[in-house]
């Protein structure tokens, strides 16, 4: 197995192990630092951050304005910042417009508010079809939109990471911010689902 052709097919687990070992030798990474990053994303950073942002925007009109004008700044105000969160643009759903987010080139995603992307978001089929036939794909994912609703597809880039501000479901007037946050799902903030009252 010395020829270079076969090394391409080495399992990724040994390739990452080898790279970590070589980077560690050079003093560029430390095992416990990597553990810390992993724990942070597995345990601490996830869609609940985004849910809190959405719930605040639903209950506080000034915050909503701020969020739509300066997503990154308004999100930072709640304490959510970090890599891939530098240029977050928030797009608002309404009765007439439904927004949905994709990254056609790789899988850009607003980590500080949504955590790391789910499997389907990274899938080549999602990435190409959401641009070509968003209505069909959304319907397959369980979201049927009326024909008179305009669908806007936002392609994430190095410049902009998008977050969808879903519509507040009816019948939730009595709920407080925390209760509302519990209703907000990751899928709704990517734009492939709506928020339901529970």
């Amino acid at each position: 197995m010395a020829d270079t052709n076969t090394t391409d097919r080495l399992p990724p687990a040994v390739r990452t192990e080898a790279l970590e070992s070589l980077l560690t030798e050079r003093g560029l990474v430390k095992s416990e630092v990597l553990d810390g990053f992993i724990n942070r994303f597995v345990n601490d950073v996830g869609p609940m951050n985004g849910a809190k942002v959405v719930a605040k925007a639903w209950t506080d009109p000034d915050y909503r304005q701020h969020l739509l004008a300066d997503g990154t700044g308004a999100i930072k105000e709640l304490g959510f910042a970090g890599p891939q969160g530098e240029h977050i643009v928030v797009v608002e759903n309404s009765d007439d417009v439904h927004n949905v987010v994709v990254c056609t080139l790789c899988s850009c995603y607003p980590w500080p508010v949504l955590g790391l992307p789910p499997e389907w978001y990274k899938d080549p089929a999602y990435r190409s079809r959401m641009v070509r036939e968003p209505r069909t794909l959304l319907s397959e994912m369980g979201l049927d939109l009326d024909d008179d609703v305009e669908v806007r597809v936002w392609d994430s880039s190095a410049e902009n990471r998008y977050l969808v501000l879903p519509q507040r479901p009816e019948g939730t007037d009595d709920l407080g911010e925390d209760e509302l946050a519990a209703l907000v799902t990751r899928d709704a903030m990517v734009g492939v689902a709506k928020v339901s009252a529970g």
Binding site: T7, E17, N39, K52
Partner: protein, 122 residues
């Protein structure tokens, strides 16, 4: 670094409609290495993204097997560290081959200096 679960408030169950962040431990290692190198100032996320896009496109122009995002991530990581002359691709190949050739139940030898002498030429 905090290892705590977010237990405050009703938004606490973090995976309302979620799934495991990493399917296998190596995916988390690969992810975290990129993060560490960005934080260390060795390259930026935008630079890494360019390599990730290239790796994704290489697969899409010649799809072999199932698409696996973190394999493309690892490929991008290897290509950017090679480009920045941090770690040469041949070094990764060589050490990975040596690791792959270990017998089952081997002792892990992270960071050892003897790996260049492993016999993996068969």
């Amino acid at each position: 670094m905090a290892l705590t679960l977010d237990i405050e408030g009703p938004a606490a169950p973090p995976r309302l409609n979620g799934e495991l962040v990493f399917d296998a431990p190596w995916q988390g290692r690969s992810f975290a290495m990129a993060m560490a190198l960005v934080e260390g100032g060795h390259f930026t996320w935008d630079d890494f993204r360019d390599h990730l896009i290239a790796a994704v496109q290489r697969w899409e122009s010649d799809p072999v097997g199932e698409y696996r995002y973190y394999e493309r991530w690892q490929e991008a990581l290897e290509s950017i560290v090679a480009e920045r002359e941090i770690v040469a691709g041949s070094e990764v190949d060589e050490l990975a081959a040596a690791y792959a050739a270990r017998p089952p139940g081997h002792d892990h030898d992270h960071g050892g200096h003897d790996h260049h002498h492993h016999d993996h030429a068969h």
